[in-house]
């Protein structure tokens, strides 16, 4: 006769395995059988049962429950777990001394085989299938983007024709959130960009005694490229993600469905005001970023002995109004793309809290990819046309 050792020294064990011979064994339960006291003991009993079952056939196990002071759902699951192993091995199982009030609960789970489902085999996808599926996803995504662009264009045209029906309240809220509230961060980052750009350029140019050309160089780079780009990336991080999360939460809460079933177009209602806000704030923010960057550059060059007036004259010679307007037009395009992509990702949100997070992430990533694309196309056009 072997008796298993108690698992915890502090508390007496709630279950003890004892075996009279190869064919007969007994589990004695005692005290409070619950989800905490079974920890460890359960594993121990099951290990003993397995070892015993390996010894021979037609074995009979008795579970003595007469000394139980309390039993809860976990205790019942334990009984079922032991019984199932016994059933599978073709052995006998009997519970003796179980209080009548626990019987109905045990019966609830008949037949217990339902509680032990056969684990489903997940079919492994071949390389070709998964490649095909990835390609299909890409095509679906592109199709979604094109459809959305079409709808949005139509609704933007509609909003010009029905200017009074646009939700100007939402537009103002979005413009304040994406524009005015973005001023500090845009200012900070563009100041830094102005300093770094001119400082790095000055180090190189100094070797040739050409510090005086840093001003025109930095100013041109800022108004044509850096200003719009930095502002757009900041807008993508702040507002595109915010639009996606906002519309995504509305999608999760069926608010978008409520608009559709009420006969309203969610694009007209939710997307148009936000895209219009993007169109308004991007050029303004960009102009602001240009000015801050150039001021930062001026101060940096002052440290290299270039007075403000020299910087200013050099800049006027290099930068003309076309450069500035080219940057601002590009910024406007970025504004459309960033706000529209944020809204699109919001509308594509699945279900659940995690889906909103995924949408916000996708909004930022897609916005930045689109910024790069638009910038590339714009650079090509301006190179060909000289604008």
């Amino acid at each position: 006769m072997s008796i298993s050792a108690p698992i915890s020294s502090a508390e007496p064990p709630v279950a003890v395995w004892s075996q009279t011979d190869g064919n007969n064994a007994k589990i004695s339960l005692m005290g409070k059988i619950n989800v905490y006291s079974l920890g460890g003991v359960w594993t121990q009993i099951r290990a003993a049962q397995n070892a015993w079952l390996k010894q021979g056939a037609s074995q009979s196990l008795v579970l003595d429950a007469s000394q139980i002071s309390s039993l809860d759902g976990a205790g019942i699951a334990f009984l079922i777990g032991v019984e199932e192993v016994q059933q599978k091995a073709g052995g006998k199982f009997e519970i003796v001394g179980l209080d009548a009030r626990y019987q109905p609960l045990l019966k609830e789970f008949d037949p217990i085989s339902n509680l032990f489902p056969v684990p489903a085999v997940i079919p492994k996808r071949s390389f070709i299938v998964s490649t095909g599926m990835a390609a299909q996803n890409l095509i679906d995504d592109a199709r979604g983007l094109i459809t959305f662009t079409g709808h949005l264009t139509a609704d933007l045209v509609w909003s010009i024709r029905n200017i009074k029906q646009v939700r100007w309240g939402d537009f103002v809220n979005a413009a304040v959130e994406a524009g005015i509230n973005a001023l500090p961060i845009v200012g900070l980052v563009s100041f830094l960009i102005g300093v770094i750009l001119s400082f790095q350029a000055a180090i190189g140019m100094k070797q040739f005694g050409a510090e005086s050309f840093v001003g025109p160089l930095a100013a041109l780079g800022i108004v044509r490229e850096m200003g719009p780009l930095i502002t757009a990336i900041l807008l993508a991080g702040r507002s595109s993600a915010a639009f996606a999360a906002e519309i995504g939460t509305m999608t999760v809460n069926s608010e978008v469905d409520a608009l559709v079933s009420g006969g309203l177009s969610p694009i007209r209602f939710l997307v148009v005001p936000r895209v219009l806000a993007g169109i308004l704030v991007m050029p303004i923010l960009t102009l602001y970023a240009d000015i801050i960057s150039i001021i930062a550059s001026m101060f940096t060059m002052l440290a290299y002995g270039i007075p403000f007036i020299n910087f200013y004259n050099g800049m006027l010679a290099a930068v003309d109004i076309e450069d500035i307007s080219s940057g601002l037009i590009k910024a406007t395009l970025f504004g459309v793309v960033v706000s529209a992509v944020g809204c699109l990702r919001g509308m594509q949100t699945g279900t659940g809290a995690a889906a909103v997070g995924i949408s916000a992430t996708r909004a930022v990533v897609s916005s930045i990819v689109m910024i790069v694309l638009v910038d590339g196309v714009f650079a090509f056009i301006s190179y060909k046309t000289g604008f």
């Binding site: 409070k32 989800v35 039993l71 759902g73 699951a77 009030r101 609960l105 032990f116 809290a353």
Partner: protein
Amino acid sequence: MDTTNNNSSNTTYAIDVQNLTVGYGSNVLMKDLNFTVNNGEIFVILGGSGCGKSSLLKNLFGLYQPLAGDVLIEGQNITAAQGAERQKIMTSFGVMYQQGALFGSMNLLENVTLFMEEYTELTQDQMDLLARCKLDLVGLLPYETYMPSEISGGMQKRAAIARAMALDPKILFLDEPSAGLDPITSADLDSTILDLSKNLGITFVIVSHELASIYAIADKVIMLDKGAKGIIAEGDPKVLRDTSTDPRVHQFFNRIMSKDVA
């Protein structure tokens, strides 16, 4: 842990509410509430929409701090408890929220096993079996691998009850468990609640509007009223229905329209 159904030791109530004031800031919903819930009792909180039933419930299980007063859970003051002591009280009960509040990134089985993973030393297989038992009790066994977003609202509520029972708590707080369920599922749920109460001695504190369900399961009800900012009726629901002279109580239990009272 006393799981017997007799309340011979009346010195400790499952829940003892003393001079509890419920509200938000200066907005007082309920003033000076006093009531007790016995061990193994099915206790139902009633009242019209917006009278503060759910807020009261959240004060009872310590999610919100009451404006004044104390809540004793099995003799321990949850209002004053801090840190590890508070956590210990928190594991002695389970909560089902009105909207289910299942974790969206986990399937139903994982939702139920989550608290077991944190608080017990069971193995994954053992926890899975336990969780399946809980899901079986609420009739959701075939759906264990489903995500919460893939099942209906009523099923989410039932899954939330299964999760609340994960650690076999002695007290279960259910916020409108049968609202939105079909009559058959609702009746099944009532019978599960009765079974658990009778056989395992679990105490239930339930917020509910469903009169049929209340008559079927409630040992004791309290009825709250927005105007009175307190309890206007207390006792057996059938007795209240038949004998109460308070027009508000009479109206509630007999489903009389407001315009017919005025």
